[in-house]
């Protein structure tokens, strides 16, 4: 398309150039020809003029000599001198002029008085005739006189006899024969015109079209015609005669009109322009074939040039297209010299250069790719090898440790059991052996549990559940356990609370407890004398930015650690020394688990230790300062809310292990507390599945199962346990105390049910029923203890605003299940913490929840919220 367009353009350009040049040439040729023709005509006219003038002069001079002859004639001179009468004189004159073919004659005396005349002329005509003929100035100008439209030659001679006696003036008519003869001679038209005030009157013409045809050869007046200008004698002029153009030249003759004083006369020689132009026409026709031929040649030339230019351009373009498409092999078919040839050559050079360069680039890219690939592969291989090595190392280390950890107690077990087979042992030795076997077995179980924990951590299966966690009950629990362990070891345990401390922090209580248990357990394990202390304080620490932090500092006066020991402290299976294991027991996994858990909770553990002097473990947990969170400033403030102090006396003394499964943290804490108060142990599970796993793997005297739990509810768990042959009593804890629910409990295999909210006294009765009594008074309520119940109640209160917000949101989006959950929780826990009325309201509201949607009645909900707010504000 573009090629065509380029070709067309060039073609049109060249053609128009050619044509323009041709037309210009043609125009100038025509112009020159016209000029040539004009000058030719002019020349002819000038020649004609000369001939006419010469002829006239010849005529005039011959006439002059004739008149002179008459003037010399003696008879005439005598007659004139003798003064004969004019009549006779006229006759004599008539005879003379007849002889010289004159037409008229006048004789004047020396005073210019007319003596005789052969023609009657008016006085004024006579005077003009006299002036013209006699005026010596007019002598050279061949005077002509026009009388009644007839031109005459005039000649005058002085008559002397012997003295000057007068002057003779003779006129001779110009006959048409003279003009005809002249015309034949010069081939030009001759016209005599009388001009007067821009009006021309033709006197005589040889041009047939101008003359009225006559029968004789006398001059005839012809049709008048316009005449532009009579002056400018001798110059050529264009004359328009009846629509035909003529070129004229006027002759310088002295012509006198004797009829009128105003008129003057012009003799006009003329040639027809159109006649001359007809030569032109012929010239035109002659030149036309050349013109067309020229144009044809120019067209062909233009085409050739256009093709000459566009063809190589086209080839270039095609080659460029090939190159653009990545084909470099296309060779240009341009065999041309000049710029286009050069261009093609350069293009080919460029093409091969580009080809070469691209090949180079391709090869480089390939090489680069290859090397990158190799590098990458090598890197991957290296990494894989490293990983594999690491994994292998870790695995073999793990296996070695496992093998060590497991074999050690097993050796004891097998060894001691073998010794038992030897009958020679005395009973005391037997008891010792059995005790050792039992202890080693328990240790083995701990090892395996720890290993399972570690593998869970490593598989990322442990999830922390961050929730508002009241720290005081948690610390109390920790303290109870630590006290017991420290007491067994014969050392002291101290809990230091640096107030103010937050009442509630956001954390996972189970994991936090696990960490603290582990750290304290470690500290006690490695401390032979002195004390272990747990200090809790609130402060800030600067990591990336300043954060509010809760510090748990565990200090001991134990064996301490060397720097090398510290380095490997938190790695799995790397207890400082294997001898330590033998001496102190432990799996070597505890600190690893602690570290992992603390980082899961967003915190970290720092260790300071002095060999043989003791160690300090510092657990830092982020504790953003919530403006609404209550700060407890002293111990007594924490105690003030105690509702349970009076009932402390009534707590039964029990022993044994209780499994309690409940998804609600509040309830778990409360029930755990209530169980621990009695001296019995409690293990908690968060759902039915955990409960089943725990119940089957351990020995519990009693299982308390919440009915509604996520993952697996209490009914299903109970059914499963019973199916699995679990024979210990299971009590279903439920807020649903309707007949159907109770029936469901029985069907599942539970031995009984216990209604929520938990009534402390009733609950202790229940425990007493299923747990063995303990003789040791190990639960003596101490006033220095943090009052857990108080804290829990407080925490329950502080969690209420959050629950209100949650309820509002759930209500807004009509999430009935969520509302049901919350209300059920409140129903279950409010009463346990002493808010009986709220619990009842919750129970009442729970029944109407299903109707919320249909009724569009917000009153029950608003009322319930109001009740919660009353509790928050302390109105109830």
């Amino acid at each position: 398309m573009r090629i065509r367009s380029l070709q067309n353009k060039i073609f049109i350009l060249v053609v128009s150039l050619f044509i323009a040049v041709f037309v210009l040439n043609f125009y100038s040729i025509i112009k020159a020809a016209g000029k040539q023709a004009e000058s030719l005509i002019e020349a002819r006219l000038n020649v004609g003029k000369r001939i006419v003038l010469d002829e006239f002069r010849t005529e005039q001079s011959s006439f002059d000599s004739n008149v002179a002859t008459i003037a010399q004639d003696w008879g005439f001179r005598q007659a004139l001198g003798q003064g004969v009468d004019s009549r006779t004189l006229v006759n004599i004159l008539q005879n003379h002029i007849n002889r010289i073919s004159g037409d008229f004659a006048f004789i004047f005396d020396t005073q210019n008085n007319l003596i005789a005349s052969t023609l009657d002329l008016p006085q004024h005509s006579l005077e003009r005739l006299q002036q013209t003929a006699i005026d010596p100035e007019h002598k050279d100008n061949m005077p002509l006189a026009i009388i009644d439209n007839t031109p005459f030659f005039l000649s005058s001679e002085i008559v002397e006899a012997p003295i000057e006696i007068g002057q003779i003036v003779v006129g001779k008519a110009l006959h048409s024969s003279l003009f005809t003869r002249l015309e034949e001679q010069i081939s030009l038209g001759i016209t005599l015109i009388s001009t007067s005030q821009n009006r021309n009157t033709g006197v005589f013409s040889t041009m047939p079209m101008l003359i009225e045809p006559t029968h004789d050869d006398t001059l005839n007046p012809f049709l008048s015609f316009s005449f532009i200008n009579a002056s400018g004698e001798g110059h050529t002029q264009k004359l328009d005669l009846y629509g035909a153009e003529y070129i004229t030249v006027s002759l310088p003759l002295n012509i006198v009109n004797l009829n009128s004083s105003q008129n003057s006369f012009v003799i006009v020689l003329h040639d027809s322009l159109s006649q001359a132009m007809s030569i032109f026409d012929r010239f035109w026709i002659d030149i036309l074939p050349f013109f067309f031929g020229g144009i044809l040649v120019s067209l062909l030339g233009a085409l050739a040039i256009a093709r000459d230019i566009t063809r190589p351009v086209k080839s270039l373009l095609e080659a460029a297209k090939y190159v653009a498409n990545g084909h470099y092999s296309a060779k240009l078919q341009i065999k041309q010299s000049g710029e286009l040839g050069q261009l093609a050559q350069e293009f080919q050079n460029m093409q091969s250069a580009v080809m070469a360069r691209e090949n180079e680039i391709k090869q480089q890219a390939l090489a680069l790719q290859e090397s990158e690939k190799n590098k990458f592969e090598a890197e991957i291989a290296h990494k894989e090898r490293l990983l594999a090595e690491e994994a292998t190392q870790a695995k073999s280390q793990f296996l070695a440790s496992m093998s060590h950890e497991i074999r050690t107690p097993l050796t004891s077990i097998i060894g001691f059991s073998e010794t038992l087979q030897v009958k020679s042992m005395n009973p005391e030795e037997q008891v010792q052996a059995i005790n050792t076997i039992n202890r080693c077995g328990t240790h083995l179980l701990n090892v395996i549990n720890d290993i399972l924990d570690v593998s869970k951590i490593e598989a990322g299966k442990i999830e922390v559940e961050v929730m508002p966690t009241p720290i005081f009950p948690l610390l109390h629990e920790v303290k109870q356990l630590a006290n017991m362990q420290a007491h067994n070891k014969g050392i002291d345990f101290e809990l230091n609370l640096n107030f103010p401390l937050p009442l509630v922090i956001k954390s996972d209580p189970t994991r936090l407890k696990q960490i603290l248990f582990n750290l304290i357990n470690n500290a006690i394990k490695f401390t032979e004398s002195g004390k272990v202390s747990l200090t809790v304080q609130h402060g800030t620490q600067t990591l990336q930015h300043e954060t509010q932090t809760l510090f748990f500092i565990i200090q001991d006066t134990g064996i301490g650690m060397t720097e090398q020991q510290l380095e490997k402290l938190f790695s799995a299976f790397t207890q400082a020394d294997s001898s330590i294991t033998r001496q102190h027991g432990g799996t070597g996994l505890g600190l690893f688990i602690c570290k992992q858990l603390s980082s899961l909770l967003g915190g970290h553990i720092q260790v300071k230790s002095q060999y043989k002097l003791g160690s300090e473990f510092k657990l830092s947990l982020p504790c953003p300062q919530d403006t609404e969170a209550k700060q407890v400033t002293n111990l007594s403030e924490a105690k003030r809310l105690s509702l349970l102090s009076e009932q402390a006396q009534l707590i039964p003394c029990l022993k044994g292990k209780v499994l309690y499964a409940d998804d609600n943290d509040d309830n778990r804490r409360l029930v755990s507390y209530l169980i621990k108060q009695t001296g019995a142990q409690v293990i908690t599970a968060e759902n039915g599945e955990q409960a089943v796993e725990l119940a089957l793997a351990n020995d519990y005297e009693l299982v308390l199962m919440d009915m509604q739990m996520p993952v697996m509810d209490g009914i299903e768990a109970t059914e499963l346990l019973c199916s699995a042959g679990f024979s210990k009593p299971i009590i279903m804890m439920t807020a649903n105390v309707d007949k159907d629910s109770i029936e469901q409990c029985k069907q599942s295999g539970a031995v009984g049910h216990f209604g929520k909210p938990v009534d402390t006294i009733k609950f202790h009765h229940l425990l007493t029923e299923y747990l063995p009594k303990s003789t040791a008074n190990n639960h003596e309520p101490s006033l220095t203890d943090i009052d857990n119940f108080d804290d829990m109640a407080k925490q329950f209160l502080s969690s209420l605003p959050e629950k209100v917000e949650y309820l509002k949101t759930a209500y807004k989006i009509q999430d009935l299940v969520a509302i049901q959950d919350i209300v059920h929780q409140i129903k279950g826990s409010a009463g346990s913490f002493g808010y009986q009325k709220l619990s009842e309201q919750a129970a009442a509201f729970e029944k109407t929840i299903q109707e919320i949607k249909q009724e569009q009645n917000h009153e029950p909900f608003e009322f319930f919220l109001q009740q919660i707010n009353h509790v928050i504000e302390g109105v109830e």
């Binding site: 077995g441 179980l445 599945e689 089943v692 796993e693 089957l696 793997a697 020995d699 697996m712 499963l720 199916s723 699995a724 042959g725 679990f726 024979s727």
Partner: protein, 122 residues
């Protein structure tokens, strides 16, 4: 205690001996042992077995498969699973497949006794 026949299926001989001594302490005299599933099936078909204590983790044919086969022979078979794997999935699967009990290793003698009691109760 009672005149019942018990079959212990476990690939680990120590485990078999331990369980068998536990059972003997419970006055059960007829105790048969099998170290693999095929043997167990053979014994179960030939003898009048009251209670089967079945390990889950065994080479080639595992305890679940053994449980299935035993229940094919006798749908009312009293099979107690004895396993170290107490994951809820295993427990659920075993119960769904008709196990009458699930004892987690290491176990206390009481658990075995509970199972015997359960057998007598049914």
């Amino acid at each position: 205690m009672s005149n019942i026949q018990v079959l212990i299926v476990d690939d680990v001989s120590n485990m078999r001996s331990l369980l068998s001594s536990s059972l003997r302490s419970l006055d059960i005299s007829t105790i048969l042992e099998a170290s693999n599933t095929l043997d167990a099936i053979e014994i179960y078909e030939k003898k009048q077995i009251d209670i089967v204590f079945l390990d889950l983790h065994m080479p080639k044919i595992d305890g679940f498969e053994a449980l299935k086969k035993i229940r094919l022979i006798n749908p009312k078979a009293f099979v107690v699973i004895v396993s170290g794997e107490n994951s809820i999935d295993n427990v659920k699967k075993a119960i769904l497949m008709g196990a009458k009990g699930f004892i987690v290793k290491p176990y206390q003698l009481g658990k075995i006794k509970e199972m015997i009691d359960k057998y007598h109760k049914q």
